[in-house]
């Protein structure tokens, strides 16, 4: 069986699979058994990069991945993210302990700041007592090997994070054939990361929810190959079904980079509908901003969002200050 190509993790020697398994969708799997099976088959198929986040599906994503990786932890490069969204380092440290417990491990390979989406997030991150201090501490304590940040909103905010001067090992961002011509991370952020030797992690190769595939604009093969052909370490994609995993494994196992000409043709094909952001709602709508981020920044919650429904159900959240909510 052909295997998924591996690449260097930025300036570091670690070898990472060019396809990464997204944590959010793992929590959307039909049940725990399916999620565990997805993790097992992904590892067997050559996926070594595993993405997750403290707030995905209110902990379910981390819990299920932890179960799936039991006995396989050493074979993977495990990342999760912390959801301070501008709040204090002390909160970040509490979240880290909870993530480690859920993931059934004593350390993370990569710990990232999640959802850097608001204009003032960089200032809140780097301020005294901000989350930057938690990243440093966790690294010193050996609980995390590398640190980074992630966001889906605006290249300018990513550049502001880099301008804080904090020594990030990795940066995650949306990279796909639509992004290439609309508020583009590919043109504004990716070259800067490559220049600095920071590991670039791509996400949303299918624009987050696969709308361009459903519209027949792109085939899964074209979309994933485009993202994987960029100068990134890995391309993280959500796989909530075994079928989807198999499809992506096959593309990744047979991967050959697109030529620059092929990439340009694809960009041009997408350009007319990329221009108003219709296939990248995460850049211009609150829809993709998680409830923790909205809470921390005083934005209204969306009652239809799964996390919010679960938040409201869970007694541990009773009495938390909920701002305005649209139902």
């Amino acid at each position: 069986m052909p295997s998924i190509p591996v690449r260097n993790f930025g300036k570091h020697g670690d070898q990472i699979s060019a396809l990464g398994l997204g944590g959010h969708h793992l929590g959307n799997a039909e049940d725990e058994q399916t999620a565990v099976q997805i993790v097992h088959e992904a590892v067997d198929g050559g996926v070594t990069f595993f993405d997750n986040c403290w707030e995905y599906n209110r902990g379910k994503s981390e819990n299920w991945m932890g179960k799936g990786l039991k006995g396989r932890r050493d074979r993977v490069f495990l990342m999760t993210k912390v959801c301070t969204h501008g709040r204090d380092a002390s909160l970040a440290t509490l979240m880290l302990e909870e993530s480690l417990r859920r993931l059934q491990t004593d350390h993370l390979d990569l710990w990232q700041i999640h959802g850097v989406c608001f204009d003032n997030d960089p200032e809140l991150f780097i301020r005294p007592k901000g989350a930057a201090e938690a990243l440093e501490l966790a690294k010193q304590q050996g609980k995390v090997r590398y640190v980074g940040f992630s966001g889906h909103k605006d290249p300018a905010i990513h550049l502001k994070m880099l301008a804080t001067g904090f020594p990030f090992d990795a940066v995650q961002m949306p990279l796909n054939a639509f992004d290439a011509t609309f508020h583009s991370f590919e043109t504004q952020v990716l070259p800067e990361l490559n220049r600095r030797g920071i590991a670039a992690l791509g996400m949303k190769p299918f624009s987050g929810q696969g709308a361009p595939l459903q519209n027949g604009l792109l085939t899964p093969d074209e979309a994933l190959r485009y993202a994987m052909s960029l100068p990134v370490v890995t391309t993280i994609t959500g796989m909530d079904k075994i079928d989807v995993l198999h499809q992506n494994l096959q593309i990744a196992q047979n991967f050959r980079p697109m030529t620059p000409e092929e990439m340009e043709v694809l960009r041009q094909r997408c350009r007319p509908v990329a221009a108003d952001g219709r296939f990248e709602h995460y850049k211009g709508s609150l829809q993709f901003d998680n409830p923790e981020a909205r809470l921390a920044h005083g934005f209204p919650l969306d009652a239809q969002q799964m996390e919010v429904k679960e938040m409201l159900k869970e007694s541990e959240n009773t009495g938390r200050p909920y701002p305005e909510m649209k139902s």
Binding site: D88, Q287, G298
Partner: protein, 359 residues
């Protein structure tokens, strides 16, 4: 994760914000210089001294040669008022107080806002500076001209004083508007035919999009934009667009002085008087405010009648007070989310409806 941990951090965070706001006043001098420059613009506020006592002051509408009231009546909320009768009363009382500027748009409440304003202005059309907007959202001049005829019919008039392109908020809108056969051609044609006197555009999203529109050097008479004490430090139209509009002698029309639906006031951040006076103290021709009830109208009329421009240091103090909370855009969601983007525009740009994509 304990609940108290979250509560604690939430409160800490708010304290940190407040502290940030206090520290930010260190930049006062620079801000004050900025204000001094803008207040020297030729179309700056005339102030109460030139206004007839008890009436809302007037200002020149850019280079057009006409004057408009410094407070304008927003058309969207005329369709939100509880009845035609209340709308008629709002319009009559506004005119009596010296408010001449009336805003509207073809798509507000599926035409109800225009219809109501048309009814309310029966016999009073000459007292009003009447504006409405065309809602092509990327479609061409033919669609625009049909909308104009419909607007004129609903507004019961044979001409508009100002006709603007509505909701220029998508990144490719400028390209679509100025494409061959685009709606920019409809604006010029309508002007030649005498159906509209002056032309302009509006949008609430991004200063960069406004600047791209202006870069076409099209003969716009008016440009509408959000202007308030939060905008001043967040993706700022005040800092980026207003000086350019003034430089070109185009009339600036301010909107969303209290956040669009009063969010800045209901949250307790500012008083209506602070918000409205701040917006009216900028170098704009008018500040358009949505007033869906006589109570809101009375409140705004009182502020506008006794209006004296804020001093530069007063404006600076207000900006600084709002700065920390302006920084993530929570009071200006029209800039960063789909909240406020109309369904017709979404449809033309292939976006889900407001119900499907609420933000």
């Amino acid at each position: 994760m304990s609940q108290s941990g979250f509560q604690h951090s939430w409160k800490m965070n708010r304290r940190a914000f407040m502290k940030g706001a206090a520290l930010a006043t260190a930049g006062k001098l620079i801000q004050a210089e900025g204000v001094a420059q803008t207040s020297e613009q030729p179309v700056g506020p005339t102030g109460a001294s030139q206004a007839e006592v008890g009436r809302v002051p007037e200002r020149p509408l850019g280079k057009t040669g006409i004057n408009v009231s410094a407070l304008g009546v927003g058309g969207y909320h005329l369709g939100t008022a509880k009845s035609q009768q209340e709308t008629t009363e709002i319009v009559a009382r506004a005119l009596d107080a010296g408010v001449s500027f009336f805003d509207n748009a073809w798509e507000y409440h599926q035409g109800e806002s225009e219809t109501r304003l048309g009814n309310a202005l029966q016999g009073k059309r000459d007292q009003a500076i009447l504006m409405t907007k065309v809602c092509t959202h990327g479609r061409g001049k033919e669609v625009g001209l049909r909308m104009l005829e419909e607007s004129l019919r609903r507004l019961k008039t044979d001409h508009l004083d100002i006709w603007q392109i509505h909701e220029v908020v998508y990144d490719n809108d400028p390209d679509l508007i100025f494409a061959s056969g685009g709606v920019a051609e409809a604006l010029l044609l309508a002007q030649q035919q005498g159906k509209v006197r002056f032309i302009g555009f509006t949008g609430h999203k991004d200063p960069a999009i406004h600047l791209r529109m202006l870069a076409h050097d099209f003969p716009f008479d008016t440009v509408q934009m959000p202007l308030n004490c939060f905008d001043a430090t967040f993706r700022s139209f005040e800092a980026q667009v207003l000086p350019e509009v003034n430089r070109r002698g185009i009339a600036a029309l301010g909107m969303k002085s209290l956040g669009g639906s009063g969010e800045m006031v209901t949250s307790g951040m500012i008083t209506p008087e602070e918000g409205l006076r701040y917006a009216m103290s900028l170098p704009v021709a008018t500040t358009i405010s949505g007033m869906e009830s006589l109570a809101v109208l009375s409140q705004n009329l009182e502020i506008a009648r006794k209006f004296k421009p804020m001093e530069a240091d007063e404006m600076d103090a207000l900006r600084e007070r709002c700065r920390a909370f302006a920084a993530d855009g929570r009071y200006e969601r029209f800039k960063t989310t789909k909240f406020y983007d109309g369904d017709l525009g979404r449809q033309q740009h292939g976006y889900p409806t407001a119900k499907e994509l609420p933000f």
